[in-house]
Amino acid sequence: MDILFFLVLFPLAAAALLLILPNNAIRSIIVWFSSIVLTAATIYLTFLYFDKGTIYFNFDMALVNELMLVIEAILAIFIFAVGLKYKKYLASILITLQAPLIIWFELTYGHALRPEHNLFLDNFSLIMALIIGIIGSLICVYALGYMKDFHNHHHEMKDKRNVFFFIMFIFLSAMFGLVFSNNLIWLYFFWEITTLCSFLLIGYTKTTEAVNNAFLAIIMNLLGGLAFAGAIVYMYFAAGIIELDKLITFVGQGNMMLLLPVALLSFAGITKAAQMPFSSWLLGAMVAPTPTSALLHSSTMVKAGVYLVVRLAPALMGTFVGEMVALVGGVTFLLASCIAISQTNAKRVLAYSTVANLGLIVACGGIGTAEAVWAAILLIIFHAIAKSLLFLCVGTVEHKIGSRDIEDMDNLIARMPKIAVMMVIGIAGMFLAPFGMLISKWAALKAFIDTSFILVGLLSFGSAATLFFWTKWMGKLIAMVNQKEQLETTVSGSEWVPLYLHAFLTIVVCLAFPLVSSTLIEPYLIPIFGKVATLGQGNMLIMVMMLAVVVLLPLGMMSGSKGTKIVPVYMGGGNLDAYTKFQGPLGMVVNLAMRNYYMDQFFGEKKLALLGVILCTSLFLVTIFWMFGVGII
């Protein structure tokens, strides 16, 4: 149990140090050191517990509860005040609704509460901890180099890197706490801290846009927080429990009244995971510095949302609420994938893809069968690695080419070969056989097919859209013009290491996927569902195929071109040089330009996002009516 505390408290200590020691060299040392320690600790934790099943820790200390209460009150006041200061009254209103509720609840009933287990640890928590520990640490290291560049590019901004790293490490601590908590009040506490961290980091640059988007994020997340608080209070009054495990067990035993807190918690998960109609906050969050996007808004914090939904999967399985949750996820997957086609800003593409994949995970969680949960956990793992790799690559590229527009990334393979290859790995990792996300999608399809044909349809169409926007991006990267301009030399070491490790992990986790499944995921599934899911014999084949690609890619590039004459491209006979210029009218020398298709008339953001809001909101309404109808409310 000590190691759990260590994982929560150590980042806190690091954060405190980083805040008070604003010296670049010292900061660098602290970040490197804490990252290595955290990574080692999570790996150690895994070795310690991966075969132990679910372990509950009966840790109880009044002081902790009181401390949490005080911090919550302070945070509430802070949010209320900032809301007033920036005239975002909705944020203030929402916090005045939920904070008094939870504080009142804790003050009046808190002492009577004696949760059986405040903390727990199972393989799902372990997986989350691994993601937070390893990916999180790597991103923090990356942020060292990135933020230095960032402030070199943005002299107009005050260098508040100490605050930045402070929040990053606080966030890590909160995430660890979140995945280990069984007591929902604790979970709620960490949940609110991550919301606040996200708020502060989105608003880091303090531009009008950043502030607006930060408030958008916090307002939507507070909505979820309100539902969360409501769920806790309701649970207590309805069944006298505030533990996650008990909630699931009770629902499993047929206590239908507890479907309401399950629905409320799923709603909280959906807001956090930026599902439609709440997807806009995640898009807005892309104004934050890229490490923030990588850590909070793709690989970990938004995963907390789906973590909760997947946790609740056994309770959601087979219920109407579950179906509705799954549909929200499915619709979000399809529409977000389609919208991504119309986006040209790399970070927005990544954001929409994140929303889409989270949708898929939510859909799996809503379905809640063993196969679906298996697929969901695979998606969480693979998505965290590949997406964070892509964010980091985009961050580095942005600083070197001065743009995060995909259209500016043509010929990157010549200008920044290593980064381009890593991006290609990341992109392939996101949608292509034999990489991780495709394996997961495959699993998801197999999970859906026996339960919901609508989801099969949504997945079929959605993955077709994914294919389009990823491939066209990849095409931009690998377009070759023999051009020698080199931009890669100035990328700092603290960026290279995480990049390499991410790329390495993307491939290795794919290779080790059967091992990951059998040692980490299946032990989680068996006690809950009594069975496991696999992909069958195809697994082996897919592995062979995967290996073949990984080996062939570099080999083929080197050897396949022997004896080949290099010729100019075809330009209707009007070539002025081999690759880019042709003779135009009016005596002009015209440069070729090739820009991807965005198909606004089909996949326009406004139209589809509106459609998503309407569809998903109506799904919520239907759920509420249904609950009225069957008397849950």
């Binding site: 044909f453 294919l467 990849m474 095409g475 377009a479 070759m480 590039m557 491209v569 075809y570």
Partner: protein, 289 residues
């Protein structure tokens, strides 16, 4: 003989036979097409002459990486068919197929040449257009037979077409896209006069182009294999229907103008969403009750 041995024989037969059969089909296609156009047409072996000719041409590319992608395209296309004819998982087959197509597209992208580029974009649109229907086909076959394995689907005793008529029609619809036949030969066309010159294949020449041709032969045989599955309860009927489908595609090719990419995408998605999904729903309820 063990089933493994039989599988191995089928796969080897496929590896050797598919290009021959595919080439002959292509030759027949050209003769039938010519006859429909009031011409005599080339000999049936013409596709082989073409490929052998291309092999003897100079090797060239616009950059060093381009031909590598085409090699991967061929490789994975063969792999796709091999897994299919080995009776493997249909979803795996389809994902491998997608991977293969993506390699071809990447090859075209990497050449950074205007017409290749537009060809690549259009190929992607086409892929996006047919992908849902392909997945729905696999899902429908699973719902009817309760297995994703081609071997089980082929061994299913009831005619699959009885359960999946809508999906069959939908699949034949998108097959026109996959065969690169008019009205959906957007990204590259067999015929000379297209606004994209040779689109996707503009920058591939000589031996590389020959590889693309061979890959298409493999692909066509594999696609006809899926058509066969719908009628697999009677192997002879299956083969006849597969050939008739091919003939139907030639007929469609010769009686239609090339349509725009908008219509291609819209119509393919509508077909998948109506015919495909409706059929899926019916099978879902009929077989689950």
């Amino acid at each position: 003989m063990t089933t493994t041995a039989i599988t191995a024989i089928i796969v080897i037969l496929y590896l050797i036979g598919a290009p021959i059969l595919g080439g002959i089909l292509a030759g027949l296609d050209r003769i039938i097409t010519a006859r429909m156009q009031g011409r005599y047409g080339p000999p049936v072996w013409q596709p082989f002459y073409d490929v052998l000719k291309l092999m003897s041409k100079e090797k060239a590319a616009v950059n060093k990486t381009q031909n590598f992608y085409v090699f991967c395209f061929l490789l994975f296309m063969i792999f796709t068919g091999a897994v299919f004819f080995a009776g493997g998982d249909l979803l795996l087959v389809l994902f491998a197929l997608t991977l293969a197509s993506i390699f071809l597209v990447l090859g075209a992208f990497s050449s950074n040449s205007p017409y290749s580029f537009i060809g690549a974009e259009r190929e992607l649109i086409q892929t996006m257009a047919y992908e849902p229907m392909v997945l729905i086909t696999a899902a429908g076959m699973y719902l009817a037979t309760k297995s994703f394995f081609v071997a089980d689907i082929a061994a299913f005793s009831t005619p699959l077409i009885y359960y999946l008529p809508g999906i069959f029609i939908g699949f034949v619809y998108i097959l026109t896209i996959k065969f690169r036949k008019s009205p959906f030969d957007l990204s590259t066309s067999h015929h000379a006069h297209q606004e994209l010159v040779k689109g996707l294949t503009t920058e591939f020449s000589g031996p590389t182009l020959a590889m693309i041709e061979i890959a298409h032969w493999y692909e066509n045989i594999f696609l006809l294999g899926i058509v066969y599955l719908f009628f697999a309860f009677n192997p002879l009927l299956g083969v006849i229907v597969a050939l008739l489908t091919y003939f139907l595609e030639i007929l469609i090719d010769n009686s239609n103008a090339r349509v725009t990419w908008q219509l291609t995408m819209k119509s393919a998605w509508i077909v998948a969403a109506t015919l495909g999904m409706a059929n899926l729903i019916i099978v879902f309820f009929k077989l689950s009750v």
